[in-house]
C-alpha cells in the first residue's frame, strides 16, 4: 500500500511550489510558512517510506498504471531511502536559516521547493530518461537560486553554471541515447539485463557508459570538470550555498552510483576493467588537486567549494572500487559530507552576517569572540579531516578498507594521504580562528573590540546581543556537528540497514 504513495515524494514539493506562489500573493511570510509545512510533510513522508523500504525491502510503483519496463518506474531501496531522507531533512533545516538570510521573495521559496522536487525525483526514479528530466529540474532550480543573490556576480556564476550544467546533462542524455539504441529500453532494472545481452564490449554500450559518467561527473564536480562549482558556491546567497553544497552534487554522485551499479552492474566493470581503472584514477586525481586548490584559496566559501571537489573524489573512488566495504564507505561519506559541508556553509554564512568576514585572514580570532560557533565549526572541520569518532573517519575507514582488500595500493595511499591534504586547509583555518589575534572585522563586530587580556573572556557571558550569531544559525551548526559525530558512532547500524541494498547492488 505504501508503494502507491511513492509519487507523492515528487508531487508534494512540486505542488508545494505552486502553493507557495499562490500563498506569496498574500504575503511573503505565507510563502515561507507553506514551504516549511510542505518540507515538514516531505520529511515525514520520506522518513516513513524510507523506513518501510529498509525494513520490508524495496518499494516500487509504475507511474500512471504503466507497468515497467514500459512505463516510468519509481523505486525506493535502502540507498535511495537514505538520500531521500537526507534531502528532506537538510532542506528543511537549511530553510530555517534561509528564511533569515535569504534574499526572500516568493520566487525564492518556489525555486527552493522545485529544487527539492528535482532532487527527490533523482533519488526515486527507476528510469534513466526520467532521471535526465529531474537532473534538469534540479539544475534549473539551482541556477535560479544561485542568481537569487541579486548581484551581478551571482548572475555570471549562475550563467556559467547553467552552460556547464546543460552540457553535462546533454552528455548524459547522449549516453542514454546510446544505451537506448543498444537495448531499446530505459528502465534501469531492464537495462541491466538488456545491456548484458547486448554485450559489454559493444561500442554502443561503451560509448553510453563514457558519456553518462562524464555527464554525471561534471554535475558532481570532479576535477577537471569542476570549474563551475567554486564560482557558484561562492557567489550564491549563503543559505543557497549551504543547500546546494550539501545536496546537489551529493545527489549527482548518488545518480552516478545508481547508474554504475543498477544499470551497468559490477559485471560491466569485470568485463571492461579499464572503465573502472579510469574512473578510480579520475577520482584520485580529483582528491589531490581539489585539496591543493583548496589550500590556495583565501576566500572561505571558495575553499569549502574546492574541498568538495576533493571529498567527492573520495566518494567516487569508493564507489568505483566496488567492494561492499568501499561502496558502503562511499555512501557514508556522501551522507556525512552533506551534513558537514552544509553545516560549514551555514557557519560561513552566519559569520559573514555577523562580521562581514569572508576570507581566511578575516577569520582570525573568531573563536575567541564566538566560542560556540567557532567550536562547532572546528568540530565539523576535524570531522571532515577524519578525526574519529566522527562520520568523516567512518567513511574513510570503509573506503580505505575496501581499497586495501581490493589490493589497489596507489589508491589506498591517496586515500590515506587525503587526511593530510584535508588537514592542510582546515588546520590553517582552525589556527586562524583559535590562536591568532583578532582581525579588524571580528573586532568591529564585537563592539569595537574588547581586549583579549581577560582570560575568562572567551567563555564568559557573550558580547552584546546585536553581535551574537542568530539562534537558528547557531542551532544548525551545532546540530550538524552533533549529527556528524552521532552518524559516526552509529555507522554500524547504518551498515546493517543498508547491507541488503548494497548486497543487491553488487551482486552480478
Amino acid at each position: 500500500m505504501s508503494d502507491t504513495l511513492l509519487p507523492l515524494l515528487v508531487a508534494l514539493p512540486l505542488l508545494g511550489a505552486v502553493l507557495a506562489v499562490a500563498a506569496g500573493l498574500a504575503s511573503e511570510r505565507a510563502a515561507a510558512a507553506v514551504t516549511t509545512l510542505v518540507l515538514a510533510a516531505q520529511t515525514g513522508l520520506a522518513g516513513w517510506l524510507g523506513s518501510q523500504a529498509v525494513l520490508d525491502g524495496p518499494l516500487s510503483v509504475g507511474v500512471g498504471g504503466f507497468v515497467a519496463p514500459y512505463g516510468i518506474e519509481l523505486v525506493v531501496d535502502g540507498l535511495s531511502a537514505a538520500v531521500l531522507v537526507l534531502v528532506a531533512v537538510v532542506s528543511l533545516a537549511v530553510l530555517a536559516f534561509a528564511t533569515e538570510d535569504a534574499p526572500g521573495g516568493t520566487a525564492f521559496y518556489a525555486q527552493y521547493l522545485l529544487l527539492v522536487t528535482g532532487l527527490s525525483g533523482m533519488a526515486v526514479t527507476g528510469d534513466v530518461f526520467n532521471l535526465y528530466v529531474f537532473l534538469e529540474i534540479t539544475g534549473l532550480a539551482t541556477y535560479a537560486l544561485v542568481a537569487s543573490a541579486g548581484t551581478g556576480r551571482s548572475a555570471v556564476s549562475a550563467l556559467k553554471y547553467l552552460l556547464f550544467g546543460t552540457v553535462a546533462a546533454s552528455l548524459y542524455l547522449l549516453g542514454v541515447g546510446y544505451a537506448l539504441m543498444a537495448t531499446g529500453t530505459l528502465n534501469m532494472a531492464d537495462l541491466a539485463t538488456e545491456l548484458a545481452a547486448a554485450g559489454y564490449d559493444s561500442p554502443l554500450v561503451l560509448a553510453s557508459f563514457g558519456f553518462i559518467v562524464v555527464g554525471l561527473a561534471t554535475k558532481t564536480a570532479l576535477f577537471p570538470l569542476h570549474t563551475w562549482q567554486p564560482d557558484a558556491y561562492a557567489d550564491a546567497p549563503d543559505s543557497v550555498s549551504a543547500l546546494i553544497a550539501a545536496l546537489v552534487s551529493t545527489v549527482a554522485a548518488y545518480a552516478l552510483l545508481r547508474l554504475i551499479y543498477t544499470v551497468y552492474t559490477p559485471a560491466f566493470f569485470e568485463a571492461v576493467p579499464v572503465a573502472r581503472d579510469a574512473l578510480v584514477a579520475f577520482a584520485a586525481v580529483s582528491i589531490v588537486v581539489g585539496s591543493v586548490l583548496a589550500v590556495t584559496q583565501s576566500e572561505i566559501k571558495r575553499m569549502l567549494a574546492y574541498s568538495s571537489v576533493s571529498q567527492y573524489g573520495l566518494v567516487v573512488v569508493g564507489l568505483a572500487i566496488g567492494t561492499p566495504a568501499a561502496v558502503f564507505g562511499a555512501v557514508v561519506h556522501l551522507l556525512g559530507h552533506a551534513i558537514m559541508k552544509g553545516g560549514l556553509f551555514v557557519a560561513a554564512g552566519a559569520v559573514a552576517d555577523l562580521t562581514g568576514a569572508r576570507t581566511v585572514d578575516e577569520y582570525a580570532g573568531l573563536a575567541d569572540r564566538f566560542p560556540v560557533l567557532g567550536g562547532a565549526s572546528a568540530v565539523l572541520m576535524l570531522a571532515m579531516v577524519g578525526v574519529p569518532p566522527a562520520v568523516g573517519f567512518a567513511g574513510k575507514w570503509y573506503i580505505a578498507l575496501g581499497a586495501v582488500r581490493a589490493g589497489s595500493w596507489p589508491v589506498a595511499v591517496v586515500i590515506f594521504a587525503s587526511t593530510l591534504l584535508t588537514l592542510a586547509y582546515f588546520a590553517l583555518l582552525v589556527e586562524r580562528m583559535f590562536v591568532a589575534p583578532a582581525s579588524e572585522s571580528v573586532l568591529a563586530a564585537t563592539d569595537g573590540g574588547r581586549d583579549g587580556d581577560d582570560d575568562t573572556d572567551a567563555l564568559g557571558p557573550s558580547p552584546p546581543s546585536a553581535s551574537r550569531p542568530s539562534r537558528r544559525a547557531l542551532a544548525l551548526v551545532v546540530g550538524a556537528a552533533v549529527v556528524a559525530i552521532v552518524l559516526g558512532v552509529v555507522v554500524t547500524d547504518l551498515g546493517t540497514a543498508l547491507e541488503p541494498t548494497i548486497d543487491t547492488l553488487l551482486s552480478p
Binding site: 578525526v387 583579549g452 587580556d453 575568562t456
Partner: protein
C-alpha cells in the same frame, strides 16, 4: 586471566572527559574551576588505582560499547599494560594539576579556562589510549589526543607558538595516518585488531611482506609521538607551551602514548615471536639506539633549559623503545619500567624549569649560574632527578637501566648495552653543568660553556680579543645586556639573592608537586619491588613472552 565486564575503565576516561564541561562553565570562578580539575584528577586516579589489585591477580576489567565500525568493537580493557600507562598518567595528572595552578597564576596567563579544559581532555584521551582494547579504538583516542593537545601547544598564541602548533599537527596527524593505514592492513590480514597478549595469531599466517609494511606503518605512526628520530623535531618546538604542558604531556601523556602504542604493537599485536621472525625488531632497536645517542649529543648544545630537557626526552623515550625492540624478556621489563621511571624524573625536571621561569623568568642555562642560592630546594630536586636520568642508583632510572642492560646482554646484543652506558655518560654531561653551576658557581664568576656558545667544529678565530671585550652571549656582570633577547631573564643586578631552604623560593603550589614527583622517582628507585609498577611490569612481560621474570 579472567575478563570481568565493568564500566570502570570507561569511567576513568569519562570522569576526566566530563570535567571539561564544569571547567568551562565555571570560567569566571578560578578557584571552583581548579577544584573541578583536582576533583576529576582524584576521581580518575582512584578509579584507575581501584583496578590495580585486580590486574595483579590476573583480573581484567572490560567495558564494551558495541561496534565502532563493522567487525571492530569500541571497547576499553584495563589489562596490566594499559593500567601501567593509565596509573602513571592519572597519578601525575593529579600532581600536575596543583603545579598548573601555581604556574599559571604565577605567570598570570591568558585563557586559563581553555588551558584547564584542554588539559582534562588530553588526559582523558591519554587514558583512552591506555585502555583501548584494539587498534581502531587506540586510533580514535590517539587522534583525539592530538586535537586536545593542540590548544595547549599554541597556548601562547605567539607566531612561534602557532608555528609549533602547525608543525605539531602536521607531524602527529601524519603519524595518525600511518597508524590508520597500518590498522587497515592488520584488519585486512587478520580480520581483527584486538590486542592479544603474545600477539594476534592470524598475523603469523599473513603475507610477511605486508605484515612488515604494516609493522613499519604502525611503528612509524606511533614513533612520531614517541619522537623516534627522524620524526622527533616537533617535540623541541612544542616546548613553547606552558611548562606544565611540557611536563605532563610532552614527557608523560603524549609521548608515552606513542611509546605505549609501540609496546602494544610489538607485544600485543605482533607478539615477540613474530616480531623476531619478521626480523623487524633489530632495525627498530637500531633506530632507537641511534636516537638515544644522537639526541643526547644534541642536548649538550641546547642552551634553553626546556629544549635541553626536550632532547633528553627524545633520548630517554628511545630507552623504552630499545628495551622493547631488543625483545628479551628482561629488556622489556626494563623498557616498560622506564615508562613510570622516566615520567617521574622528567616531570620533576620540567617542574623545576617551570619554577625557575615563573620566579626569575630565566630560561637559558647560561644565565643560571648560582641560581642554587635563589632556589635551593628546586635545584636539589633537579639534581636528584638528573642523577636518576643518568642511571645513578637509588633513583628510579637505575632500576630500569639495570634491567635494560641485563636484557641487552642477555639477548646477546651487547652493542646496545654499550650504547646505553654511553648515553648514561652523556646524560651526566648535559645535566651536571646545570646542577654544578647552580650551586658551585655564582652569577659573576663562572666558567665558559664552549659547547653551547661556540659554533660547531670549534672557533677558527683567535679568542684573545674577546677577553678584553666580553663575549655577548656570556654574562659577565649582573645585568643582562642583550636587548634583542625575547625574555628578560638572568640574575638581577648584584647576583641572585639568598633564599632559605624552607620554601621561600616559590609557592608551595609549585614546590609541593616538584618534591612529590621527586619523591616518586626516589621511591621507585629505592623500593621498586614494593611500588606497584615493577610487579605490574613483570605480570605484563610474563603474559607477553611466557617467561616469568
Amino acid at each position: 586471566m579472567t575478563d570481568i565486564a565493568s564500566l570502570r575503565p570507561a569511567l576513568a576516561v569519562a570522569v576526566a572527559a566530563a570535567a571539561v564541561v564544569p571547567i568551562l562553565v565555571s570560567a569566571r570562578r578560578p578557584n571552583l574551576r581548579e577544584g573541578w580539575t583536582v576533583l576529576a584528577a582524584v576521581g580518575s586516579f582512584a578509579l584507575v588505582a581501584s583496578m590495580l589489585p585486580g590486574a595483579l591477580d590476573g583480573t581484567v576489567y572490560v567495558a564494551d560499547f558495541g561496534p565502532l565500525v563493522a567487525g571492530v568493537e569500541f571497547s576499553l580493557r584495563a589489562d596490566p599494560l594499559g593500567l601501567l600507562f593509565a596509573t602513571v598518567a592519572s597519578l601525575l595528572w593529579l600532581v600536575t594539576s596543583f603545579y598548573s595552578v601555581g604556574y599559571m597564576r604565577g605567570l598570570d596567563e591568558d585563557d586559563q579556562t581553555r588551558y584547564f579544559a584542554a588539559f582534562a581532555a588530553s588526559v582523558a584521551a591519554a587514558l583512552g589510549v591506555a585502555f583501548a582494547a584494539n587498534l581502531v579504538t587506540v586510533f580514535v583516542f590517539y587522534e583525539l589526543l592530538t586535537v586536545a593537545t593542540y590548544p595547549l601547544v599554541t597556548h601562547d598564541e605567539t607566531p612561534e607558538a602557532r608555528a609549533a602548533g602547525r608543525k605539531y599537527l602536521a607531524y602527529t596527524f601524519g603519524g595518525g595516518v600511518a597508524v590508520l593505514a597500518g590498522t587497515v592492513l592488520v584488519a585486512t590480514m587478520a580480520d581483527t585488531t584486538a590486542f592479544t597478549a603474545g600477539g594476534i595469531g592470524a598475523l603469523a599466517n599473513a603475507d610477511p611482506v605486508l605484515a612488515r609494511v604494516a609493522f613499519v606503518l604502525l611503528i612509524g605512526g606511533f614513533g612520531v609521538k614517541a619522537a623516534l628520530m627522524p620524526l622527533h623535531s616537533w617535540l623541541p618546538d612544542a616546548m613553547v607551551a606552558p611548562t606544565p604542558v611540557s611536563g605532563l604531556l610532552h614527557a608523560v601523556a603524549v609521548v608515552k602514548s606513542g611509546v605505549f602504542g609501540i609496546a602494544r604493537v610489538v607485544l600485543d599485536v605482533y607478539g615477540v615471536d613474530l616480531t623476531s621472525a619478521l626480523g623487524v625488531g633489530l632495525p627498530l632497536a637500531i633506530v632507537a639506539a641511534a636516537t638515544l645517542l644522537i639526541a643526547s649529543v644534541i642536548a649538550l648544545r641546547q642552551d634553553n633549559l626546556k629544549r635541553r630537557l626536550a632532547f633528553s626526552t627524545v633520548s630517554q623515550l628511545s630507552y623504552i623503545v630499545l628495551g622493547i625492540a631488543v625483545l628479551h624478556p628482561t629488556s622489556i621489563v626494563g623498557g616498560l619500567m622506564h615508562i613510570p621511571a622516566h615520567a617521574f624524573m622528567k616531570l620533576t625536571l620540567f617542574f623545576t624549569a617551570g619554577a625557575i621561569h615563573v620566579e626569575t623568568h630565566t630560561d637559558d642555562i647560561s644565565e643560571m649560574a648560582g641560581i642554587g642560592k635563589r632556589m635551593p630546594l628546586t635545584m636539589l630536586a633537579f639534581g636528584v632527578a638528573a642523577a636518576g636520568m643518568a642511571g645513578i642508583p637509588l633513583v628510579a632510572g637505575f632500576v630500569s637501566k639495570w634491567y635494560l642492560l641485563l636484557g641487552s646482554v642477555g639477548a646477546g646484543q651487547t652493542v646496545f648495552a654499550v650504547a646505553l652506558l654511553l648515553s648514561g655518560v652523556l646524560n651526566i654531561a648535559y645535566f651536571w653543568p646545570v646542577f654544578y653551576q647552580a650551586f658551585f658557581e655564582s652569577a659573576d664568576d663562572h666558567d665558559a660553556k664552549p659547547l653551547v656558545e661556540f659554533s660547531l667544529g670549534g672557533e677558527s678565530r683567535s679568542l684573545l680579543p674577546a677577553e678584553s671585550e666580553p663575549d655577548p652571549g656570556t654574562v659577565t656582570d649582573g645585568g643582562h645586556e642583550d636587548e634583542d633577547d625575547h625574555h628578560h631573564g638572568g640574575p638581577p643586578a648584584g647576583g641572585w639573592e639568598h633564599r632559605g631552604w624552607r620554601g621561600g623560593e616559590s609557592t608551595w603550589f609549585m614546590l609541593g608537586p616538584i618534591l612529590a614527583a621527586m619523591t616518586g622517582a626516589v621511591v621507585l628507585g629505592v623500593i621498586p619491588g614494593t611500588a606497584v609498577f615493577l610487579r605490574l611490569v613483570k605480570v605484563i612481560v610474563t603474559a607477553a613472552t611466557g617467561v616469568a621474570v
